[in-house]
Symmetry: C2
Subunit: 233 residues, 2 copies
DNA sequence: GATTTTCTAAACCTTTAGATTTAGATAAAT
DNA sequence: ATTTATCTAAATCTAAAGGTTTAGAAAATC
């Protein structure tokens, strides 16, 4: 919970100077926040954040130079408690997705009413995520599409299912980039046996060498004992 | 936009029979939706969905047997316009994340007021995503953490940056599982030159063979001309 | 009981990959 | 003007990987 006795400190980054002034005035009129810095340059913006450690950064993400997304990432990397709200003229799914992925905690359309902007700042400062419901929908649809793309390969026609359990063990070691001798050592079988298994794996996966076997495994959702623990779906 | 002359058709799946009755009554009293089917079994639930093509499925995701997440996925795979709202007793970040990833369009806590459930159904049926603001925050924090984990490897100390542009081209072909001869053919240089490049790549990436070079590249965000077009960050 | 699958292993051979050295031709940087 | 980096290429060698066949033992399936 934020301390309401302290004024929220805000930094504005927008390459359009007129816009910058407009937002600043809006904030001064509609709220009691303290605009500690404004700039039209992404790089200068990052410096302002470093210097003032503001509570909120309002950032236009449609900038030329170093673009808004990179700037979000740069600010996120600073590891401060500063929260970034992305401002954009468009409700582009991909843009929203990437902004949120890189650490933005809000996304506001420039066309939205000014009271909504103040509302967004208030919510984000309180630790919440601010996304208008249209954008939430867009975000999730994009998110699900992406997630489904990822898992699609892991499903469907999958030659990996034809592997025996021993072959799976061997393939797992192959995907770690280990050679025959070491695999033999780890599984406590002879090197020639490993070669037999590997050749059988090649035939089943329809490849001719270990690199392609590994590539096939990785792109078709091959589950290793390690990855199983960290995989989400 | 949905046709308000037609009653929304709903299927309920919850392994707790009492809960099932409770929700059904709630819907009958508070709304005019048509509960076309209820079941305590995930598998039967999938069959109900196949049979009735309901507008909405309310599904408890804390079920034993075939769990709720798998069921969401199974329903999503049917490719119907049926929208799933997940019901859960907990606001577990990971659970919310996975449910949404698998295609849920809403997530409602069982402890929430009944009017909210009706509200959720209404919103989701209208094509929106329904997530209470606390859960939105949880979801995004989990999402960002996951995304950051993924991109972390692609940043930081990265030996890939030391590669020359020609070496990058060669590495790209290596990551496609192509052998020396073909690489030489594609780049129109001799096979021995390719070997020289590959050996230099190995030294720079501190590996001893192509499999490990490929694994290093893939796990450190190596951008191929193809992947650059589809990658999100 | 017979058959199939899986895991084990060897022998034999061919091909590819990898290590190392040397070196010429440009191009860029100091 | 002279290093330095990059791209090119060859020769030579060793080690590793891959292909093929054959085969025994155990377990699962028919």
């Amino acid at each position: 919970m934020r301390d309401f006795n302290k004024k929220l400190r805000v930094v504005l980054i927008d390459d359009n100077a007129n816009h910058l002034r407009g937002i600043k005035e809006l904030i001064n009129i509609e709220s009691s926040y303290d605009v500690v810095g404004t700039t039209t340059s992404a790089n200068l913006g990052i410096n302002l954040v470093k210097k003032y450690h503001p509570d909120i950064v309002l950032m236009d993400i449609n900038m030329p130079e170093k673009d808004g997304l990179q700037t979000i990432q740069a600010i996120a990397k600073l590891g401060l408690s500063t929260k970034v709200i992305a401002l954009s003229g468009y409700d582009d799914s991909d843009l929203i997705y990437r902004a949120m992925k890189l650490g933005a905690r809000g996304y506001v359309l420039k066309t939205m009413a000014s009271v909504k902007l103040i509302n967004a700042i208030e919510e984000v400062a309180a630790g919440k995520i601010y996304l208008p419901s249209v954008l939430t929908t867009r975000f999730f649809e994009y998110f699900q599409t992406t997630a489904i793309e990822e898992t699609k390969a892991a499903e469907g026609e999958n030659l990996l299912t034809s592997l025996t359990s021993r072959e799976n063990e061997v393939l797992e070691l192959l995907t770690e980039g280990i050679n025959y001798k070491s695999i033999a050592g780890k599984l406590i079988i002879s090197e020639t046996t490993v070669k037999t298994h590997v050749n059988n794996i090649f035939q089943k996966l329809q490849v001719n060498d270990r690199t392609n076997a590994v590539l096939y495994a990785l792109s078709h959702g091959f589950k290793t004992s390690k990855s199983a623990a960290m995989t989400t779906v």
